[in-house]
Amino acid sequence: MKKLITLIVLFASTVVSAGTLVVNSNQSGESSKAAFDAYVDAFRAAHPEVTVVVNEFEHEAYKTAIRNFLTAEAPDVAIWFAGNRMKFFVDQNLFQDVSDVWADAGLNDSMASTKGSLTVDGKQYGVPWGYYQWGVYYRKDLFDNLGLNVPKDWEEFKWVCAMLKKNGITPITIGTKYLWTAGGWFDYLNLRINGYQFHMDLTAGKVSYEDPRLDATFAAWRELIDPGYFLEDHASFSWQDAQAPQINGEAAMYLIGNFYVPTLESAGVVDKMDFFQFPTIVEGIGVAEDAPTDTMHIPSGAKNVEDAKKFLAFMSNKEAATNWATMGGMLSPNKYADKPTNRFSVMGAEMLAAADDIAQFWDRDANPDMAGAAMEGFQEFMVKPDREAKIRARLEKERARIHGAL
């Protein structure tokens, strides 16, 4: 009897492990879930020998759950984010090196634009499936009424703000209650003034927050804060709350990611909206853009590595890659994927293709605790700019605690 049970257990376990691929997903929104399902279905059709089991998590809850399941009960594939968020787990030896997938599936060519954000010490630890642009979404009708053109440089940008303000329109809407929107502003100002490499050194904790090169970044920010170009009382508002003034036509510009577009469509103002790239501030600095990249990884504890690699390599399938990205409102990192049709995505794709460098976003490039403390400081600076020295000293203290003395 005992032998029989062992036999059944053995048999059952082999049935489960051979050909079963467990995927943990955070694609819980309606459209993102449908998009991911399309990719899984296409994979099933192409690889009928693999049984795919998807465990879906709520998007925010996933961020805490992943730390448990990577160590306790690792799936074969886990969806996650590029940049520092990936590196955190790579440093813990929780993600596998998948450089062979990049080489074998031709991703080094088709995914070249996002390769950097998935590389640690020359090895790739994941495969991207989608990304999206950041930039200024603005009310074209308000600009036209006042005869304003899209600003190309910092002087023009400030002039546009001044004109809008003079005509009773809030130049820039923003809601900093959950802090990250302020991180977007810091990203762009610093990328345009000090360039990509300096910005990456800062997020990696290699540069002091009291470094004199940052003076110009904060000074430029102040040029918008002191005349009151940002939405008043922005610390009260979430990023969704801050949409209302723009949708009502009381505010003109919003620096945000492309995920804003579905709201504009459902609010019926999308025809009055347009998009422009964040203006140049210092001439001769390479153009870098924020384009957060969403990714897939194979945990070190994966049981079915062979099929997991097939699942990642399937991103080289042009059609599957296109569908997953566009159905979820994202851009495909696969350069052979079909071009997007939505006009904001088209502009985003062109802008990112021409960019010299791609950053992830403040809270994806920086360490989690440093990112949080810094964004709190940015919010405070946006309300109390006179405290700049105190804020930067505090951030530097925090940086030294996390990354060590310079």
Binding site: T64, R67, T71, K87, D91, Q92, N93, L94, K177, Y178, L179, E232, D233, H234, A235, S236, F237, D241, A244, P245, P368, D369, G372, E376, G377, Q379, E380, V383, R394
Partner: protein, 304 residues
């Protein structure tokens, strides 16, 4: 007689209690001691045997370091601590208001039952919903408060975005369920008021405030005691309203210890540091609860 038949009466209560005690030990007592243990370590919440990027172990003994950093090198800790003290003091205001409401709804007037249940309603609503409602109320652009202020020609006050006002704004939101709860405690207390004593007081010429102060209130002492304890413990563990209304902001100025603990452990991955904050909070509550139990037993003894 078997062993069971002889001892049935003595053993039965323990057997009935056993499941509850077991669950209490596993889910309440054990985590308390485990948290205290974690607070003497540096831990990022990952595999305890693993190593970090810089080669240090994920889990290492640091003795009292977390506490030393907390008390000597963390301004936010003091901000949180003082906010907790504000919560503690100002949330007590809910108690007299609850008493006034209880006296008001305790009258025999037609339809009073419905008014009673209306006043009690806030206590049944989830704290998150209350937080959202008050966030809308305070919204400096479209909120009701802004509208009321505009009637008097006043400028909007961004309560939740002002570092000096945010905590008070949240405490006022906490009155909403707090007053309802103390009101119920007092209504129950009022039904137990000795009518003969009220009559006797009336004959002696007591009425209005003198009646309330000298005859009614002393009899409501047990209700008052419970109201104070529940309000203070509630104020020390305040978390949900803060998370919903300000997320600790602006720039961390409305954080309390419970919220800071959550931030440090779940977002900043400093489990040991978070556990140290939890331990401090536990000690603060402990001192208070010990004092309270001591008072309670002393009172009971003197009454006997």
């Amino acid at each position: 007689m078997t062993f069971w038949e002889r001892n049935q009466l003595k053993l039965a209560p323990f057997l009935f209690l056993a499941p509850a005690i077991l669950i209490f030990l596993i889910y309440v007592i054990y985590p308390i001691f485990d948290s205290i243990w974690v607070s003497f370590h540096e831990w990022n919440g990952m595999d305890k045997n693993g190593t970090r990027a810089n080669g240090n172990p994920n889990w290492s003994w640091v003795g009292l370091k977390n506490y030393i950093v907390l008390f000597t090198d963390d301004e936010e800790f003091y901000v949180s601590l003082f906010n907790n003290i504000r919560w503690l003091l100002f949330s007590l205001v809910a108690i007299p208001i609850g008493l006034l409401l209880a006296l008001f709804v305790n009258q025999r007037i037609l339809g009073m039952r419905y008014i009673k249940s209306l006043f009690y309603f806030p206590f049944v609503i989830n704290a998150v919903v209350i937080g959202v409602i008050f966030t809308w109320f305070y919204n400096p652009k479209y909120g009701a408060l802004t509208y009321v202020l505009s009637l008097f020609g006043l400028d909007p006050i961004p309560v939740l975005a002002e570092e000096d006002l945010a905590t008070y704004g949240i405490i006022i939101a906490s009155f909403f369920p707090g007053i309802a709860y103390t009101m119920i405690l007092y209504i129950t207390g009022l039904t137990g008021v000795n009518r003969e004593m009220v009559e006797a007081g009336r004959i002696d010429g007591a009425a209005g405030f003198t009646m309330l102060w000298h005859v009614i209130l002393p009899q409501l002492k047990p209700a008052t005691l419970i109201a104070i304890v529940v309000t203070i413990v509630g104020s020390l563990r305040s978390f949900d309203l803060i998370a919903v209304m300000t997320a600790g902001g602006p720039w961390g100025s409305s954080e309390v210890l419970a919220y800071k603990m959550y931030q440090e452990s779940l977002f900043n991955y400093r489990m040991g540091y978070g556990a140290a904050i939890a331990t401090i909070l536990f000690l603060i509550m402990d001192i208070y609860i010990a004092w309270f139990l001591y008072r309670l037993f002393k009172n009971e003894k003197s009454e006997k």
